[in-house]
């Protein structure tokens, strides 16, 4: 297990290297003069263009620029945002926490709703419970999160006045966004859990467990669910990315700060240092999440061995 973990970490190195090259080249692959593009909304003089060029070190050779970029990144220095003048690292840390809060609470909602509904549906296939969970899944998959978010605001904020519609801050502000994000994601988990559970429940070891006289809850949770979760965990890993992407929309609808909105604004404003910083961070997060998912398989199913 230890060796496997180590090997996975070593494998992550070339991936991160590739990502850093791509991110670095982004600025240079965009057609046109990046400096001119960054200042396209202003009247500028040649001196101002040259000043910004030298401040961004764009007048140096490519390898030298890349070395500078990597060296800075390793020290947590990702340069300065063109638009806000603040360090990119500061922009990211300020916006990372709200997104992590939202994504993890959203994932929790998705897991509870999705796995719960999936189990219920699998226990009584083709019953009304199963049918409602199918409808729920269909709606969840097809309903765009901005629409669901507006419905949430309409119902819980405007009419029932239970939760505020906007803002970061305490848990109260997080309820509606997390529900919105979680509900849309729970749908696919519910479907997957259902089919996976149905398959496992047909296995002989379930019959054995039942005939041993185990309580039904123990049969379901310890024997069936744990085995049924392997594909679900894979999806969780993939969904983490979807959550980050979905967070953009949810963050915008609910007026919350976050990485999603930060990168969208950075792209619209051609704030290249900020875009580079965020893409680097998000790519590294993906690498890390995939690693965690791989390691989780081993916990769920000891038959998967790492040697």
């Amino acid at each position: 297990m230890g060796i496997y973990t180590l090997r996975r970490f070593v494998w992550a190195v070339p991936v991160v290297f590739g990502v850093s090259v791509l991110v670095f080249m982004m600025l240079h692959l965009v057609p046109g003069d990046p400096v001119k593009m960054m200042l396209s909304e202003f009247q500028t003089t040649q001196e101002q263009l040259d000043l910004l060029r030298s401040q961004l070190h764009l007048d140096e050779s490519l390898p030298k620029q890349y070395a500078r970029f990597v060296w800075g990144a390793l020290h947590g220095d990702l340069g300065y945002s063109i638009r806000t003048k603040r360090p990119v690292s500061r922009e990211i840390t300020d916006n990372l926490l709200p997104t992590l809060e939202l994504a993890s609470l959203g994932l929790l909602v998705a897991a509870i709703m999705g796995i719960g509904l999936g189990i219920l549906a699998a226990l009584k296939p083709h019953s009304w419970v199963d049918a409602s969970s199918s409808v729920f899944a269909l709606l969840g998959i097809s309903m765009p999160s901005f629409w669901l978010g507006l419905l949430m605001i309409f119902a819980f904020s405007l009419h029932l006045k239970l939760f505020p519609a906007t803002g970061g801050g305490d848990l109260k502000h997080l309820v509606l966004p997390a529900l919105t994000l979680g509900l849309t994601e729970s749908a696919i988990i519910a479907r997957l859990t259902r089919s996976s559970m149905l398959e496992v429940l047909r296995q002989e070891y379930i019959v054995v467990a039942r005939s041993k006289g185990l309580r039904e809850s123990a049969v379901l949770l310890r024997h069936a669910l744990k085995n049924a979760l392997i594909p679900v965990v894979t999806i969780f890993g993939l969904q983490f990315g979807r959550l980050l992407a979905g967070a953009v929309v949810v963050e915008t609808v609910f007026g919350r700060p976050g990485i999603g909105r930060l990168i969208v604004e950075a792209i619209i404003n051609k704030d290249f240092p900020l875009v580079q910083g965020i893409v680097l961070l998000v790519s590294c997060t993906y690498v890390l999440v995939n690693l965690i998912v791989d390691l989780a398989y081993g916990f769920l199913d000891p038959r998967i061995r790492y040697d």
Binding site: T84, H126, L150, G255, G258
Partner: protein, 562 residues
């Protein structure tokens, strides 16, 4: 199995009924625009002062005012920000040397009086002696010098401020309360600029100490003090009880009424409207026309408008690319647009037909309607004169060589497809036989095409407080830059722009801009489309929102009436 399908279906129907029931309120469907119908004369929306719904009572102190705005300010440093949204916020806390009223009068503010030299190169300001910054630093000539030197320092990336001190040479400290600001060339617009919140004075001492924090909580001299800024979330300002003067907009001496003003960033329009209906915000900016009728009907909400200064929303016609290189075609486009219908069907109370090449709020001289009334027949006749005299098989106009009359609009796309207004213009022109295509694209390539004069021009607007900014749109040196996207090199326009810039007599200066407007309209370098209004919704328990001469809100005198 059949039973199961039926269960699923019936549940779907049930759910869709529930959703459908609450649907319309959350997403109003825009009524289709009807570009060809003749306009009904409607009562033009007037710039409103807050209607006296309550009997005048002594303003109440206290409370927290929450204002919903649609964008995140990149920085709150007045000198660094390129973005109008920063000045929505700063207009309630920052103070400038002068003040510009909505009817374009300059008033004393931090300066008691001012003089302009005959060549418009030297501006002398006599400062008030009773002003301190919120950190206790005295406001004096040295502080003014420090502010202007900061903006123009090569190490400092000035935002919009850089465009307001063009040709700055140096500031001379005459005595403790007198400064002389010297420019290399005559620069009359500096007086208006000195009243802009962009040139708010900030504390030299606090700014040197706070480093990058100046982007969050700059220290000013105004009635409210910025205390917190969380990007993409909110900015908070608290009443500064050390304020002991009467600002030019106020009816009383001393600081504002409410304890705290929170500016909340809510980019999603539907959400922003919901927050003023639920009371989470008491004021919101940028009310969309689609929600306007509902909010107007609500007894809890008051709507307040202010007409934007600057250029109207306009189509800059590229004079270097066929067929808009032909003045007859450009004139035809102007005759073919029904501006009243545009204001009525697309803007519905949030815009008015333009008067000329700048908005009525900036220069109220009606020119456009005499040059280009809505006259599709005249448009067709001009097109025929230009050679587009036959109708092709597909219904569009062709010339003798069989070439179709095609025009391409550079249309900015924020990710939701071409804008409704661009599509409206397209439909309006197709009705008289012009094949209009929209090159809908994201912001960076949109700019690239404008710089390269690659399309028949963009539909855009440009907001400014002094008509001198027309130089960006029409001076020949800005072809290939920001923002002469008509790509017009007209020595007469250059001459008028340069002359108006040094003309110290206000009436003569206005006359020069009228001449400039006529020259632009005669040659149909642009198609003015609509003057936009800044539309705000206030809950009826608050009153006192004002606007300055730059159409920015001043919330420092808002109070709760109950």
């Amino acid at each position: 199995m059949r039973k199961r399908v039926f269960t699923v279906l019936s549940m779907l129907v049930l759910v869709s009924l529930v959703l459908g029931a609450c649907g319309p309120a959350a997403t109003p469907t825009p009524a289709p625009a009807q570009p060809t119908t003749a306009p009904q004369p409607t009562t033009a929306p007037q710039p409103t002062t807050p209607p006296p719904t309550q009997p005048p009572a002594a303003p109440k102190r206290g409370g927290t005012l929450t204002i919903g705005i649609n964008q995140n300010p990149p920085t709150l440093d007045p000198h660094a920000s390129p973005s109008a949204i920063t000045f929505y916020i700063l207009s309630s806390t920052g103070e400038s040397l002068l003040y510009l009223t909505p009817d374009r009068q300059l008033k004393p503010w931090l300066a008691e009086s001012w003089e302009v030299s005959a060549d418009a190169k030297v501006f002398t300001f006599r400062l008030r002696k009773d002003v301190t910054f919120q950190d206790g630093t005295p406001f004096n000539a040295q502080a003014v010098k420090w502010n202007f030197d900061r903006i123009t320092s090569p190490d400092f990336h000035a935002g919009a401020a850089a465009g307001l001190v063009v040709g700055y040479d140096h500031t001379e400290v005459v005595d403790e309360y007198t400064v002389r600001i010297h420019f290399r060339n005559g620069y009359v617009p500096f007086l208006t600029n000195a009243a802009s919140p962009v040139l708010s004075m900030i504390s030299p001492v606090a700014t040197e100490q706070q480093g990058a924090k100046v982007n969050e909580t700059p220290v000013t001299t105004g009635p409210y003090r910025l205390t917190e800024f969380v990007a993409n979330d909110h900015a908070t300002m608290e009443r500064w009880d050390g304020y002991n003067r009467q600002p030019p907009w106020a009816d009383h001496v001393g600081p504002g009424y409410v304890d705290k003003i929170i500016w909340k960033v809510i980019p999603e329009t539907g959400t922003r409207v919901a927050t003023v209906e639920s009371g989470e915000c008491q004021v919101i900016a940028d009310v969309p026309y689609s929600d306007l009728p509902r909010l107007q009907a609500s007894k809890d909400i008051t709507i307040q408008n202010a007409a934007w200064v600057g250029s109207p929303l306009q189509w800059l016609l590229n004079v270097t690319k066929p067929p808009t290189d032909d003045v007859r075609v450009r004139k035809a486009l102007n005759f073919a647009i029904n501006r009243q219908a545009l204001a009525d069907t697309i803007y519905r109370g949030t815009g008015r037909p333009p008067v000329g090449i700048v908005t009525a709020a900036l220069l109220d001289v009606p020119l456009l309607s005499s040059y280009y009334p809505y006259d599709p027949d005249k448009a067709r006749q001009l097109l025929a004169e230009a050679g587009w005299n036959r109708t092709g098989a597909d219904g569009f106009l062709v010339n003798d060589q069989g070439k179709r009359l095609e025009i391409q609009i550079n249309s900015i796309d924020y990710g939701t497809g071409p804008r409704e207004i661009d599509q409206w213009v397209q439909a309006q022109l197709q009705a008289i036989g012009i094949a209009v295509t929209l090159k809908a694209q994201a912001r960076p390539p949109w700019y690239e095409d404008n710089y390269a004069c690659a399309t028949n021009g963009p539909i855009m607007l440009y907001r400014f407080g002094d008509p001198d900014s027309l130089q960006a749109l029409f001076h020949s040196k800005n072809v290939g830059g920001f923002a002469n996207w008509s790509c017009v090199k007209d020595p007469e326009l250059d001459r008028l722009i340069e002359q108006a810039r040094v003309e110290t007599d206000a009436q003569k200066r206005t006359q020069l801009y009228v001449e400039l407007s006529k020259r632009v309209l005669e040659n149909a370098y642009i198609v003015p489309l609509v003057d936009e209004l800044s539309v705000w919704a206030l809950r009826s328990e608050v009153t006192g929102l004002k606007f300055n001469g730059f159409t920015y809100p001043v919330a420092a005198d808002v109070y709760f009436v109950r």
